[in-house]
Amino acid sequence: MGNNPVFAVTVFFICFRECLETTVVVSVLLAFLKQTLGGGEDQKMYKRLVKQVWLGCGLGLFACLAVGGGMIGAFYSLGTDTFSSTEDIWEGVLGIIASLIITIMGAALLRVSKLQDKWRVKLAKALEHEHNPNETRKGRFKRWMEKYVMFMLPFITVLREGLEAVVYIGGVGLGLPASSFPLAVFCGLLAGVAVGYIIYRGGRETSMQIFLIISTCFLYLVAGGLFSRAVWYFQNNAWNHVIGGDASETGSGPGSYDISQSIWHVNCCNPEVGGGGGWGIFNALLGWTNSATIGSVLAYNFYWICVMIGYGLMLWRERKGPLPYLDPVVHKVVNAKGRAKAFVFRTPWDQPTTAGPAHASGAVMEYGVLQTEKGAVAGPSTAIWQSSV
């Protein structure tokens, strides 16, 4: 992963993505409030609700910082040294995880406008109960929840996205030096808020999408590099076992790599030695290595071929409808995942939805959104289109 001591690229993207999602949610809420109550008649109510939204955000952020700090502290007290004997395996595994996360995130980023749809649906659902408060049996807790929905939604969202970010960063960043975090986190948050704000302002969606395309391409370059590096690390680990030591002890010269696996090797520009300098950044962004192996080159190309197939399938299904064999399977998986997720996060919300038959389509829609969010490479997203059209 190129231990760049200043800027952890993966951390940046994780922060960016999570922050963007949060911002989108908040902006949808604010826009909704403005649309419904901003007209003038009920200024007091409007202000109170806006306050609720911001309060939810703030408290969510605070809670997630507290919990997240604890988690990261726990990660680090475990200590990277615990893993140093198997450092290469560790870096390889983390590389693959990070690469998958970025890949999935990247796909979601391209459809970030759908996030707005998703949250509009959610908001609608939440408010439906207000319209129909006495229809079903419910306790004080539920009434309280509904009263403060404008607080709970941003609070839960911020908390959830924030914790997600913490978990990802904790996992991905364990192999990285702690000094590379702050700047990356800060920039990620800033970029996320900036993009979110542009979306909120309803900025020019075309240029927005171009921006997203470019940043997604960039993301995939990083992910491809990470994937290739992961395989490289596995091979390096095997090589270290063969020579019975740490290959980087021999510097970047002969003996630091397995000649029979080598595709190219230049005795310079080693991103592993001495912080790597510019090559370390080059390595982190594009997966550059001064010593490419058959495995790492194949992995890089394989990654891109998978990306092409994945996007090809998504494109095909967006234009021509569900895929014959893939979709049923994917749908099953996604349903299971959705149920699990609902169980973990949204029990208070989802129970009422499933109670009445009227909300069945809403549930399907939600799974559809979920699909775009988490299963982009597998590419199932028609559900939402079919159900929302």
Binding site: E205, D258, W264, I305
Partner: protein
């Protein structure tokens, strides 16, 4: 009166010499070489090369002037062999020298070879196998040439021959060494160090007597420091060359080197004194915790007294300051040879080649065996024998003119020390830096220091001579000798691992004189036939055109630097797939714009529709 006595003495000596000359006898050894089992260190039973079912091997002992005949039958069954009589000049009998593919063909299992030569030398030598890796499996022992006329004969009462050796538990062929898994070329670490092929032994001595100890390092890799607690000794011989008796207390004996020292015993029998050998741990890349570097054997004055372990006073072997062999003066007072007619300037390198394994090179050549033993090429090449091309590019051949003064400058581009041995000669030690002593490792950490002919310490007037000389880490040495012994002589590092890595070269000395003087016996041709090695032709085995070397054995190619064709192809493919992938992403992303636009339109239409229904 005095003169007449002296004259009588001279005449007596002359008569004795003549008598001896007439008496020069033929000493014959029949060696049936087979595998036997031995456990010299008490740690591990292993297969070793035995002679006539015995190990330790018999010491060859001859008198100066004797004819030595060794009939060797290779009964190993699975391994080729030969015998090199280390230090023997083999003047006129180059084919009896022993190194496979240099002066003879390897003796394949089931074959026999006869070595037959006159020993016109004196002193301490040894014999060992010189084919592939065969001597570290135990195939080495002392060879002593007694000399009735040695100047120190009346200075000692008895003599002992002492061999020192490193010892491996694994069969050498089973040790992975030249391999990509060992890119640093780390030499295999011995499992033990032997003293007279055993441990904890005693030399029984009598008080007041003087003993001649012949010390021989018959190891394959590790040099030994040698000293005796509370005793000093006088060096009288190094590598068969008598020196003025010189007091010393610590010796550094690299593999293949020999020292003869006179030790006078104390007059008391109260105590036994440790003879201490300390392995040169600087040569070892790692020191396993169970490897004993220091060993104690004893000068046993009194069998019943205690045999105390040596007190080691230094933390590291390199803290011992050994006697500098360059400061010895040869007893025959041979003067420094004049300026050389031929200077051979060499540098030792250790490098990874294209298969990822570490190799040793002299300049840019890693010695690679020819297809025809070089001596046989000399014998069959006719006039072309003076053209070094016929000996191949990778045997590193150098043709020396008859009676030229030859100077070899050997620089060390490597951080380890290398005991270099020249067959067929001993050579004058003209210069070396750093000298033995506390500064010996001074150059090891910086850049290598090369010999500068215009700026060096003064050459000695009577340089010491020997046949194996230690090249300091990243330093240099300079030696001179006269090419007065026609033959094909191997010049190589005597660390057997390094020799296998190619740290050697071939000197073809006076090839036309070789052709005149030498007759290779039929038996040696039979050996070639039995082992399937050509006995005619150039290094590539070409018997028609000696200058056509196509098909010669080559050293492994150089490691490619940077991008090769496959690297460029891989890079291009990676770039293409990355761009194609990004194209897919862009198309998918751009389709999002269309959808968004479409959606907005439908929304607008719907809003308008609902608005109109409202109104």
């Amino acid at each position: 009166m005095v003169t007449s006595a002296a004259g009588l003495l001279v005449r007596l000596v002359a008569a004795l010499c003549f008598f001896q000359y007439v008496q020069a006898k033929t000493v014959t050894y029949d060696f049936n070489v087979t595998w036997v089992t031995a456990n010299p260190d008490g740690l591990y039973d292993r297969k070793v090369v035995g002679i006539n079912g015995q190990w330790p091997l018999p010491v060859i002992e001859v008198d100066k002037g004797d004819q030595l005949v060794v009939n060797m039958h290779n009964g190993l069954g699975d391994k080729r062999a030969s015998i090199h009589f280390h230090g023997m000049f083999q003047n006129g009998t180059n084919e009896m020298d022993g190194p496979s593919m240099v002066t003879q063909c390897p003796v394949s299992p089931g074959s026999s070879i006869t070595y037959n030569f006159t020993v016109n030398q004196n002193g301490t030598y040894w014999y060992h196998c010189h084919t592939d890796y065969c001597y570290p499996d135990g195939y080495r022992q002392a060879l002593i040439v007694h000399d009735k006329d040695a100047y120190f004969n009346d200075m000692y009462d008895e003599e002992y021959a002492i061999t020192m050796s490193d010892w491996y538990h694994e069969m050498i062929e089973d040790i992975t060494f030249i391999d990509k898994s060992n890119p640093t070329g780390a030499e295999p670490i011995p499992n033990a160090f032997l003293f007279n092929d055993t441990l904890n032994s005693s030399l029984s001595v009598e008080p007041g007597k003087t003993y001649l100890l012949r010390l021989i390092n018959v190891g394959a890799f590790v040099a030994q420091y040698f000293y005796i607690e509370d005793h000093t000794f006088k060096i009288v011989e190094i590598d068969g060359v008598y020196t003025d008796a010189t007091e010393a207390s610590i010796l550094y004996i690299s593999v293949a080197q020999r020292y003869s020292v006179l030790v006078t015993m104390k007059n008391s029998t109260e105590k036994n004194y440790p003879i201490v050998t300390v392995a040169d741990s600087q040569l070892l890349d790692t020191i396993p915790s169970d490897l004993r570097l220091n060993h104690t054997n004893w000068l046993e004055y009194n069998k019943t007294a205690a045999h105390p372990q040596a007190t080691i006073t230094v933390a590291d072997a390199s803290d011992l300051i050994p006697f500098d062999d360059m400061s010895l003066v040869p007893h025959d007072r041979m003067e420094l040879l004049p300026e050389a007619d031929l200077v051979i300037d060499l540098t030792v390198y250790m490098e990874n080649l294209d298969n990822g394994a570490d190799y040793a090179l002299l300049n840019n050549i890693s010695y690679t065996r020819p297809k025809v033993p070089t001596l046989f090429t000399v014998m069959s090449a006719g006039e072309l024998a003076t053209n070094s091309e016929v000996y191949g590019d990778y045997t590193h051949p150098m043709v020396l003119g008859h009676n030229q003064v030859v100077e070899i400058i050997l620089n060390n581009g490597d951080g380890g020390s290398h005991p270099f041995h020249l067959h067929g000669h001993n050579f004058q030690l003209i210069n070396r830096a750093p000298a033995y002593g506390e500064h010996f490792y001074d150059y090891a950490d910086g850049d290598p220091v090369a010999y500068d002919p215009s700026n060096h310490t003064a050459f000695p007037k009577y340089p010491a001579r020997r046949d194996t000389f230690v090249l300091p880490p990243q330093g240099y040495f300079v030696i001179r000798f006269v090419a007065d012994n026609p033959g094909v002589w191997f010049f190589h590092c005597h660390i057997d691992w390094h020799l296998q890595q190619g740290l050697g070269m071939t000197l073809i000395e006076a090839p036309l004189q070789i052709q005149e003087r030498l007759t290779i016996p039929q038996n040696h041709y039979d050996v070639c036939e039995a082992s399937g090695v050509q006995s005619k032709g150039n290094a590539a085995g070409n018997t028609v055109d000696y200058l056509d070397l196509s098909g010669q054995n080559k050293q492994v190619a150089w490691l490619p630097a940077g991008f090769t064709a496959k690297g460029i192809v891989a890079m291009v493919f990676s770039c293409v797939s990355a761009f194609l992938g990004m194209a897919f992403i862009s198309v998918y992303g751009a389709s999002g714009i269309k959808m968004a636009n479409k959606k907005r339109k439908t929304e607008k239409a719907a809003a308008e529709g609902s608005a109109s229904t409202d109104s």
